[in-house]
Point group: C2
Chain length 339, copies 2
């Protein structure tokens, strides 16, 4: 009998130490799902909650950040805190972060709000980590960047980010062009970088949580399972549809625009049909139109919206809270053992 | 610090017990790679070697089976064996098997040869397990079947197969239509069946070997790393090209025919271009022509052949023997531990 162990307590795990959290579990900052309620619930349960800025106007993002800080305020911290500017008491709160897609049109405004509101952690994605990492680090903000290959992971380390999220082909929503799966990606990124590594794509059960560590990750980012939990702001109809998903009912589509994993529905079948007959990027742009993700995820239009979710949705079947998820993943090992 | 263990010694592991092998590692029966030399080398090293019937004429298969038995003969077993028919001495040999794609045109002839030659183990793929499992079991042959979803895995258990191989999207060559990755597939198949489960697709390093067990597998089937080892009958130029592969340099193509993972080259780019402009199945069939896999893998035509290999090839970099691979996977754990 061989065995191996992985480090997942806050004393030794680099992700826990970096972000000041109890469990190395990041709740992904997803469009139309990850508002302050979800982020606060994940952080309160000992993980790291992320607000998804990708679907928020700047003013709305500020509201979510403030609400999250209120929810995560550490009682009595106003009086405890010493120092600070001009003797003003500093309120302390549990760690949380904001996910910022770097192609966001109002990116400068977003970044200034993050600094003004003293957000402690930022996850960036969909762009070069070189542009904003120095700015965020100058303001004392911890930075993680999402990649889909070890080539980009090395660029992250060179740019000075604190941690890398490596996300596999099975993940929901926008996706890398390499189509490398979590199982193949994590060991290769592990070899390529020395900074802390977070695995994303397909992590939902205790078995996959443990497997991510075996592959070389030091933490996990979980999207799908949190997108479907009670505190997610996704529409109940969207959650219900995704909880009943069968294997093979998501597809990576729109590869001529930005590859996106979508649940099978009338819209996605129209895209598939167009792609099969060789539709151009221009034609697909018109077919996609605007606000499809909002229509599907937030408004619950199951036939015409973009239903972004990961392959592993077919394992998520019940209504549960963010705290339930973290408890399930970090409980005493047992059910993943060999029969 | 949490920890978990997995069972991988022959006394307790169900795959080892089922096949009578030392390590729960199956060397995949791959077209143009898996002749008797590779199968015998994998079995001698304590794994289970498989001859790939998919690229062999029936007479050639018989030759490979006989050569494999010669190579795996247990010395002195002729005189030791008692009983048997009419007192004839029975030669004993180490376990090995044959992989049979069920759409093989001369399937009846192949199956009769397997029975005549007393092959102890058969792995079937690409077809229904119902048709041949009873025939093989009646002849005392152990049967495993390869699937790409838990729906098919359940059908295997119902058909009476002894073990299931669940193969993810990252695997080389022919591939399932669901595109479910190893990371998402294994836990779902584990939930769906009670018979022994072998993980395939992306397993190449000790980290991924351990991760497969964490996901719920009881053994692994390894294609890519064995296809590129010394005893593989693939052309040296093919092996060298695949050992230098970068991440993202394989693609799942020919989805309108049978989805196949191929290395980027002139032929695959012609397929991609045709698919992007909406080429029909008929047009793709003409473009594919005949014997492309032989041309690429066996004859080493790197520009015009089909170069079938898994995503994980980008982690395989050196010349090594089949025994080196098994030693590397089953050695004392260490290098996959967290820093």
């Amino acid at each position: 009998m061989l065995g191996f162990t992985y480090i997942c307590d806050a004393m030794e795990n680099r992700i826990c130490k970096l972000f000041g959290i109890e469990h190395p579990i990041i709740q992904a900052g997803m469009v139309w799902c990850s508002g302050w309620r979800l982020a606060a619930a994940a952080s309160k349960a000992g993980g790291l909650g992320l607000i998804g800025a990708g679907s928020m106007h700047p003013d709305n993002l500020r509201h979510h950040i403030r609400s999250c800080k209120d929810a995560l305020r550490i009682p009595g911290s106003e009086s405890e805190a010493g120092g600070g500017n001009a003797g003003s008491p500093e309120v302390r709160f549990l760690p949380f972060g904001v996910n910022v897609p770097l192609m966001y049109p109002q990116i400068e405004e977003i970044m200034n709000i993050i600094v003004e509101e003293k957000v402690p952690i930022v996850f960036t994605s969909a762009g070069s980590p070189k542009k904003w990492t120095p700015f965020l680090k100058e303001h004392g903000i911890k930075v993680a960047h999402v990649v889909s290959s070890s080539v980009f992971a090395v660029k992250c380390e060179e740019a000075g980010v604190d941690a890398v999220v490596a996300e596999g082909f099975e993940a929901g929503g926008h996706n890398g062009r390499e189509e490398t799966t979590t199982f193949c990606l994590i060991p290769q990124v592990r070899e390529a970088i020395t900074i802390p590594l977070i695995a994303a794509g397909g992590v939902a059960s205790r078995a996959s949580y443990n497997a991510a560590f075996a592959l070389g990750a030091e933490g996990v980012q979980i999207g799908t399972r949190f997108a479907l939990c009670t505190e997610s702001s996704a529409h109940p109809a969207f959650k219900e549809r995704c909880r009943g998903l069968k294997e093979g009912e998501t597809k990576l589509l729109l590869k001529k625009l930005a590859p996106t994993r979508l649940v099978d529905n009338d819209f996605s079948m129209a895209v598939l049909e167009a792609e099969n007959r060789g539709a151009s990027a221009e034609e697909l742009t018109i077919l996609l139109g605007k606000s499809r993700a909002k229509m599907g995820i937030f408004e619950g239009n199951l036939s015409e919206g973009e239903l972004e979710i990961g392959q592993v949705a077919s394992m998520v079947r019940k209504e549960e809270s963010a705290a339930d998820i973290i408890r399930d993943l970090t409980g005493v090992p047992g059910d993943f053992l060999m029969p």
